[in-house]
């Protein structure tokens, strides 16, 4: 059993060692600015013919990252892959799915300032605002992991003679996670974590104003051992802002079968 939930403490940057650690993280992330990032579908890295730039809001000239954009076909493929992966992921015991979230939280805690540094460059958060965002992301991982264990335990039902009754919480299927840019780590990680810990699979399309921080989180999921295809990383479809429509349409066909989609955004 995990320990009782406690909120991640905020960092006191008036302490020189903490300020030093943040400056080091900012320097480290600075060397990675301007890198290119692929789409990831079923663990496969995919590059396309068009990219989207993530720019530092304080400097029009500073490129944070270049992101390959999906096509409608790739959006469909991401949904199909997520659907196939759902058939196995939904049977992974809840305790294992929760453990995965706890591992991701531990990794993020180790690299806390790096995650904050990405937000400082990508969405212009001040140190304490970025630190709060990262702390909240860690909280969501720790909290939803524990919540899943609670929902997976025996649920109270009225007993009657002659029957054995059970209530199980089962997942919905494939979900599109389309988070906003203003809490680009916390809300993005929270929505994704909630979807996968409950046994769903995901197509994650981060805000085009904050894709780098989302990619860093995606890498953390892989590092913690999330199987390929449980979360698929997308940028928006080319030419039009049609990700929502494409994903919605692609998922609509699932009606009536286990795994029909449930889009949230």
């Amino acid at each position: 059993m995990p320990t009782e939930f406690r909120n991640e403490p905020l960092t006191d940057f008036s302490k020189e060692e903490n300020a030093q650690a943040m400056r080091a993280a900012l320097d480290k992330v600075k060397t990675q600015l301007g890198n290119e990032y692929p789409l990831v579908i079923g663990g496969k890295r995919i590059k396309t013919g068009a990219t989207l730039d993530s720019i530092n809001p304080v400097k029009h000239t500073e490129l944070v990252g270049k992101f390959y954009k999906a096509t409608k076909e790739l959006a469909n493929q991401a949904v199909e892959t997520a659907y196939e992966t759902f058939q196995t992921w939904r049977n992974v015991p809840a305790a294992e799915r929760a453990e995965l979230l706890f591992r991701v939280a531990a990794l993020m805690r180790e690299r806390k300032h790096e995650f904050s540094a990405w937000m400082i460059y990508e969405v212009a958060k001040t140190w304490p605002e970025a630190d709060g965002d990262t702390a909240e992301a860690i909280d969501f991982l720790e909290f939803y992991g524990r919540e899943m264990l609670r929902y997976a335990s025996d649920q109270p039902l009225v007993k009657i003679t002659g029957e054995q009754n059970h209530l199980d919480y089962i997942p919905l299927g494939v979900g599109a996670v389309i988070p906003p840019w203003n809490f680009p780590c916390a809300i993005m990680a929270g929505m994704t974590a909630a979807a996968i810990v409950t046994g769903n699979t995901v197509v994650l399309k981060p805000s085009s104003d904050a894709p780098a921080i989302a990619y860093k989180f995606f890498e953390l999921l892989e590092e913690a051992g999330l199987p390929p295809g449980v979360v698929n990383f997308m940028q928006r479809t080319r030419g039009e802002n049609a990700t929502r429509a494409t994903l919605g349409k692609a998922c609509g066909r699932r009606d009536g079968r286990q795994g029909r989609n449930h889009c949230r955004g």
Binding site: F13, M22, V58, K59, K125, E147, Y151, E163, L172
Partner: protein, 243 residues
Amino acid sequence: MGGKDAIIVADDADLEEAAAGVVQSAFGFQGQKCSACSRAIIDARVYDPMLEKIAERTAKIKLGDPTDNGNTMSAVINDKAFKTINGYIEKGKAEGGRVIAGGGSDGEQGFFIEPTVIADVKAGSTIEQEEIFGPVLAVIKANDYDDALRIANDTQFGLTGAVYSTDEAKLDRARNEFHVGNLYLNRKCTGALVGVHPFGGFNMSGTDSKAGGRDYLLLFMQAKVSSERVGATRKRAEAGTAI
């Protein structure tokens, strides 16, 4: 989604505390939070001293590159936001608002907008009703506490809100009458903590699904009940036997 979150300052409030809470809630992350305070509704009896305190604290905010920890506010997210927010500042002035702090912007290097406080905003006017999602605070004068609550609730949103008062009866009334998903008493209206303050609002602010609360995971699951008659034949296949 979104909000037009208000902080009410009653005539008996600790004004220093209230000014600190208003400014922090209004300008944290450039006001780009669903929970940000975009309306300060102040009892007429403390309106003038509160304006002074809010303007003073706002003037101390340092706008700049956030890699420098000395800067306490930074640029807004993108060009579209830069234009929209500046448009609202103009609209606020055109509708009779008085800029008592900030008001300027500089888009040369990045999307910088000064923390802006607009006083004498009329209830029902554009910047009192529409979400700006930027560093713009509208200050509205209320006749009394009844009037303040009425103005606060006269919105299509209902996410966060706060009341500063030393009067227990006023705080109790807020708990009953201030229609928001997350109500804060004598503290700022931003900074919800996971598990401590399950977060989500009413009306156009959302479906009141509370992120970081005990109900949240239910949104991703469905309950399935299986019922088995006791005493019916239930055979287990031998290991290795084909079924």
